[in-house]
Amino acid sequence: MKLSLGPIQYFWEREHVLDFYQQAADSAADIIYLGEVICSKRRLVKFEDWLAIGNELKQSGKEVILSSLTLLEAASEMSSLKKLCANDAFMVEANDISAVQLLSSAGKSFVTGPSFNIYNGRSLKLLAQKGLKRWVLPVELGLDTLRDLQEVRPEGLETEVFALGRLPLAYSARCYTARSHNLPKDDCQFKCLDYPDGRILETQEKQEFLVLNGIQTQSALTHQVLEQVPELASLGVDVLRISPQHRGTMQILDIFYKSINNNDIEDLFEDLLLLIPHGVCNGYLIEKAGMEYGTRQTA
């Protein structure tokens, strides 16, 4: 199995982004997804910058993919998407059907991201005919469905699993980070910059429940599949995705690298927990509520 580094979900200072990818160049990641996937107002790193970062990573031996915006609303966002899909340097991760249409009608191969709905073999087959080369299992699906889909997946199609990160749960027209500061979206003052791992939302009992990340809502718990790595390998999963967090991402990549290479998972799990901001879950993968954490008998 290969390891991928997913696109940064948060809004980070430009220097932090550049530094992050310098580290990523020497990391255990084989594939690196680049680009802004949440909010088109986040422009500290521009399209040309992403291309430059991509070229450097490519020279370091990484496979580079450019990720598209997940929720498209404004005409300007469509223009940016068209520019992204027209690029000849890198393959694109489509996070919305608009990107699939643009790429497939241009005869280009593509990847679909974790918030793109592929729930059955018929959809998988259809998209493979349209140029799908790799797909990420939607995060709410578990091992049983993954097994069924692996059995019917078209020849040559790669399967990627969201292996670690706060779960992308929802997208809205509304910006919740701005709202949490009583600001309108149009005058958000880039409050997301203050929350490099998103802003915690707690229940009235202080349970850390969700994370606000601009227009995206994430889980407060970090979804991780470390204990299921052997099973995912046996199911023929090709890529495990690590979603960037503010601190410790490269160490997390190392931990997963070791897990793939048959190191003791119990020890690695202890190491992993030290790097996680607010606890872990894995419920989706074991066919339960996403926020739960548990083990599962290997079938």
Binding site: L71, E73, V100, Q101, L167, L169, S172, A173, R174, Q204
Partner: protein, 331 residues
């Protein structure tokens, strides 16, 4: 503009037809549709009655088959498509690409509408479904402003339907997993959001707690009316503040912008609420019918009547209404 109304059972369907709906959308009694609630929806027998009641009066029946089947159980969705087609319904409202592929291949002459659950917000996205499956209408998610809807309409290869009234999804439909994160069941996988099976109402010393699979969604003080714990409409704490961090319990109401929707070329207005009572369906249909007729007769002088607004307020969540994402400041 066509008026498309919901029905979760025969009395609701009759209420919709009798009060002036042009079309009524319904679903089967299983997880093939996004209102998979106990005691709701149509069996074979009631389905047949529904189709003839509406069609005998010259109205149309649309069938929502708008959840996402996984490999196990895919036949259920195929069967739903086949049954609806055999009953001679006027259109299917589909979300999943696999189901759409099946329907367009097996029933090439049947009208296919792209459900809001397909989460498509651009003309490029609509084109994908039009070119591959020949869809004839799209229902847009409740995340676009009026000017964004207008832009989609100018470029869309098919007519556009938008939501005009009812409970408001604050997240883009079809890509919201909040419910399955908390309960294991989502609109996509199970056809329900914040399912009743996981809801608990709990009396406390100082009021009522509402929980979803144990997670506290809201706390209501003495005398405060407790609402259903829909996950995105609870009061949570962010920083120092406890508030409706995602959305207030409120309903979408577009009466005030109907002429605008007409002017930009909206083809159909949809009312949400297959899970609601026949009385709700009747009241809302009657008001929307009157408003659309008035708007199309005199778009220049149209104003929503107080009595319409009052009527709709009585059946709205938390008795409040909003223009939602149509109105930029809401965002």
């Amino acid at each position: 503009m066509e008026l498309v109304c919901p029905a979760g059972n025969l009395p609701s369907l009759k209420a919709a037809v009798d009060n002036g709906a042009d079309s009524v959308y319904i679903g089967f009694k299983d997880d093939t549709n996004a209102r998979h609630f106990a005691g709701l929806n149509f069996t074979d027998r009631t389905f047949e009655k529904a189709v003839s009641y509406a069609q005998d009066k010259g109205r149309k029946i649309f069938v929502a088959i708008n959840t996402y089947p996984q490999p196990k159980g895919f036949e259920r969705w195929q069967k739903a498509v086949d049954q609806a087609a055999e009953y001679g319904v006027n259109a299917l409202i589909l979300a999943d690409m696999g189901v759409m592929d099946y329907a367009s291949e097996r029933w090439p002459d049947l009208n296919l509408h792209l459900s809001v659950q397909a989460s498509v917000t651009s003309a490029e996205g609509i084109r994908f479904y039009h070119e591959n499956f020949g869809i004839r209408r799209v229902v847009l998610p409740r995340v676009l402003s009026v000017s964004q809807v207008a832009h989609v309409i100018t470029e869309s290869p098919v007519p556009v339907e938008v939501f005009g009234f009812g409970s408001l999804c604050v997240m883009v439909e079809g890509r919201c997993l909040l419910s399955s994160y908390a309960t294991g069941r989502s609109p996509n996988t199970y056809g329900a959001c914040s399912p009743a099976s996981h809801v608990r109402w709990e009396e406390t010393g100082d009021g009522t707690n509402t929980r979803l699979n144990g997670v506290l969604i809201d706390h209501y003080g003495e005398g405060e009316k407790a609402g259903y714990p829909t996950l995105c409409k609870g009061r949570f704490q962010v920083g120092e503040n406890t508030f409706y961090a995602l959305e207030e319990p409120t309903s979408l109401n577009t009466l005030s912008i109907l002429p605008k929707l007409w002017e930009i070329g909206v083809s159909a207005i949809k009312v949400e609420g297959r899970q609601r009572s026949p009385a709700y369906v009747g009241h809302v249909t009657a008001v929307m019918r009157a408003a659309i007729d008035e708007c199309m007769k005199n778009p220049g002088s149209y104003r929503p009547k107080d009595r319409w607004m009052q009527k709709l307020a009585t059946v709205s969540e938390g008795s409040q209404t909003t223009l939602g994402a149509y109105h930029r400041p809401w965002q």
